[in-house]
């Protein structure tokens, strides 16, 4: 009886799964494998592929531009992610204080997330304008000197960091807020009985309890930051002198401007491995902590 059901179920499974599985095979599994294969070749899209083994990978670590771009991306990730995580966490804590105007704040903070990064970038490019942008205007009004945000190699990457944090904070804040709101009030009451309040309560009780949210925010922020692209293309174009150039942009240029498909694919795989390692580290780091809290 059971095997008959399983067979019938299997038939239905084929029906239900067919679209998703076909789509997955054609547009995810096949490209994944093909991308790996291409990365071992030298290919300009028009002539035949030439097998070169690991040469593309080796070349990347000898490519001054590639390494510079890699450094930029890592710097960006390791600055933008902590800033976003910390700020959105504290904003969520503040918003959780049962204050009036909750809907307004939620709407205001979430607004940057719904617009496309392209539109946001155009606006911020104008805001960072050296002579006419309001960022410099405010800085000068406060007594400082305006910075050449977009034409100084030292500051350009900070424009990307600022814009990315500005856009992502609201979204992450909502995730933290949901996590905070899921903490049953019994935890707070127990803490009060123990005489634990305020900041220490925040760090001893709340932070461990929202670990899943924190982990989620951290991992998604890291993955998104390593793959940053839209804002770089519009705000700085990667310049000046590639000071704000990032990996996905370099991949795009190698594939679609210089026709180096193999090299671009290798860059993609190096990135993928790096992202995977970072995610695994975060996972392990946050999950192993669980045991020490109690």
């Amino acid at each position: 009886m059971k095997s008959k059901k399983r067979n019938r179920d299997a038939m239905w499974a084929v029906v239900f799964l067919a679209p998703a599985v076909i789509g997955l095979c054609v547009f995810t599994i096949y490209p994944l494998i093909e991308s790996l294969i291409i990365s071992f070749t030298s290919w300009d899209l028009f002539t035949d592929k030439v097998f070169v083994g690991f040469q593309n990978y080796i070349d990347f670590f000898r490519d001054a531009t590639g390494l510079k771009v890699f450094r930029n991306t890592i710097f960006f990730t390791f600055v933008a992610v902590p800033i976003q995580v910390v700020i959105s966490f504290f904003l969520a804590v503040a918003l959780n204080q049962k204050i009036r105007g909750m809907r307004f704040f939620r709407g205001a903070y979430f607004l940057p997330s719904i617009a496309s990064m392209v539109s946001i970038s155009i606006v911020w490019q104008w805001l960072f304008n050296t002579d006419f942008g309001i960022i410099n205007y405010v800085i000068k009004a406060l007594g400082g000197t305006g910075l050449n945000w977009l034409t100084n190699a030292k500051y350009s990457i900070w424009t990307i960091i600022i814009v990315s944090c500005w856009k992502g904070t609201g979204y992450n804040m909502m995730i933290f807020l949901a996590g905070l709101q899921a903490i049953p009030s019994t935890n707070y009451e127990a803490a009060e009985l123990d005489g634990c309040t305020g900041l220490s309560r925040l760090f001893r009780i709340v932070v461990p309890l929202i670990k899943p949210s924190t982990l989620y925010v951290c991992i998604t922020c890291v993955i998104n930051s390593m793959q940053v692209f839209d804002q770089v293309m519009i705000i700085t174009g990667g310049g000046p002198a590639r000071s704000s150039s990032v990996l996905v942009q370099y991949l795009y240029e190698n594939a679609f401007d210089y026709y180096k498909m193999g090299y671009a694919s290798a860059i993609g795989w190096i990135m993928a491995v790096f992202i995977f390692v970072l995610s695994a580290i975060q996972f392990k780091f946050m999950n192993s902590d669980d045991y020490s809290v109690e």
């Binding site: 899209l45 002579d131 034409t151 190699a153 700085t236 000046p240 002198a241 401007d257 026709y259």
Partner: protein, 446 residues
């Protein structure tokens, strides 16, 4: 359809239109199967797109059995998308091509060799135009792969009202009377106004730090005798010369030391389509830019004049370098004869004269530079005083040597990156120039 017949008839119609007569419609007698062509151009200004469409409509009226679909592709990736489309067999029949990309497209076997069939057409072109469209192969033979319709050269547009207010004399338009660089700087300083709180409210000049593939850097290097390449453009040499240094240091000084040029804002800002709005709003007195900007400036409220680039005193040439785009034919086109008709029409004075009148382009046919033909396109309302002195300069202009480079995308990016490091990241001149040389050489495979 006999190729020779086609080409001579096309030639005849062209010469006829030169003298103002209407094109003969001898073709209407024969019967033809309907042919449909695709034409690609990059995103152009409103006016240019309309002119192109009007031209295509005229063409389709003259050759009723041909329909042309005009497709615009965004400029930023135009050539890469074009190359991909052509190579995968779904490319257009006729298309715009930047002269610098010609080498790469020829190597990839994507362009139709039209040396013979375009022979009569090309013989009437100006020297620079002819150099642009022809390429020399290993045997020293010259081949033509495209037709062009215009020339664009480097000039300085200036705001006459601001000049008058500062007591600066009009910029010279005669080649012999060009300012020296020092005179230029002196005048720019007069035109730079700083208010009491230290903010510069008016700048003297702008756009000198534009990207390598445009006009300024290459022109100044050429004027100063700094040639970066060997004769057949297969290697870079002598980039780190005193002349190169003089050029780039002087360019940087305009902004960094003298304060007469503003921060260009958004490194990599691309003025290939629009002269900076700062000039159009009267906050900058001059702009160094390609002559194509005339069209937009003429439509603004600015009371404008034109002048030539200043000289470092070392050049012995009598003209600047010009550039423009070509019309090329897909080697795999299914309708090569009709494609040629279209390419020739889009490069003919009949098509070009209305556009020359707006100031966007200068003519490419020698005949149009002759005294009696100049009034056909020289629109007094657009071309400012002194432009007539530029006419011989355009006529004697030479082609940019970089038009013969290969792997241009990589080279342009590499040079831009190093120049940006020099302009905006305090990299010193020698390192910059040496890096440029080694990077170009590694791209060219040396």
């Amino acid at each position: 359809m006999n190729k020779k017949l086609v080409s001579s008839l096309a030639c005849a119609s062209m010469i006829a239109s030169l003298v103002g007569a209407s094109a003969p419609v001898a073709f209407a007698e024969e019967s033809h199967d309907p042919v449909s062509l695709t034409f690609w151009g990059w995103t152009a200004s409103d006016f240019e797109s309309k002119s192109i469409q009007a031209g295509l409509d005229d063409f389709q009226a003259q050759y009723p059995w041909i329909t042309v679909e005009y497709m615009t592709v965004p400029s930023a990736d135009y050539h890469t998308k074009l190359k991909t489309a052509l190579a995968s067999g779904s490319g257009p029949d006729v298309f715009y091509l930047d002269a610098t990309q010609c080498n790469d497209f020829v190597k990839a076997n994507l362009l139709m060799d039209i040396t013979d069939i375009a022979a009569d057409f090309t013989v009437n072109m100006t020297e620079a135009s002819l150099q642009k469209v022809s390429m020399t192969d290993e045997n020293g033979d010259s081949h033509v792969y495209g037709l062009d319709i215009c020339n664009v050269g480097p000039v300085i547009f200036y705001n006459k009202d601001l000049f008058d207010a500062a007591g600066v004399e009009p910029m010279p338009t005669k080649w012999e009377e060009r300012w020296t660089w020092d005179e230029f700087v002196e005048n720019m300083q007069k035109l730079t106004v700083v208010d009491d709180s230290g903010n510069t409210v008016q700048y003297g000049t702008c756009n000198w730090e534009e990207q390598y593939s445009l006009y300024v850097l290459q022109e100044l290097l050429d004027l100063n005798g700094a040639n970066w390449y060997n004769e057949d453009m297969t290697a870079a040499e002598n980039v780190d010369s005193a002349e190169s240094k003089e050029v780039i240091e002087n360019i940087k000084a305009l902004r960094a030391e003298l304060g007469v040029a503003p921060d260009p804002n958004a490194a990599g800002s691309d003025t290939s389509n629009s002269p900076t709005a700062m000039f159009l709003t009267g906050q900058v007195a001059t702009i160094a830019i390609g002559s194509y900007a005339l069209q937009e400036i003429a439509q603004s409220d600015i009371n404008y004049g034109v002048g030539l680039f200043p000289t470092f005193g070392k050049d012995d040439s009598d003209a600047f370098m010009v550039s423009a785009d070509m019309k090329c034919i897909n080697v795999g086109s299914e309708h090569p004869e009709e494609a040629l008709l279209l390419a020739e029409y889009m490069s003919s004075p009949e098509f070009g004269i209305p556009i020359y009148q707006t100031g966007l382009w200068m003519p490419n046919q020698k005949a149009l530079y002759e005294e009696e033909n100049i009034p056909q396109w020289f629109n007094e309302e657009v071309y400012p005083e002194g432009w007539e002195n530029l006419i011989p300069v355009f006529l004697n202009a030479k082609d940019k040597p970089t038009d013969k480079l290969s792997n241009v995308n990589s080279i342009n990016d590499a040079v831009d990156e190093e120049m940006q490091a020099f302009y905006y990241a305090d990299q010193d001149a020698d390192t910059t120039l040496q890096n440029i040389e080694s990077r170009i050489n590694s791209i060219l495979g040396n």
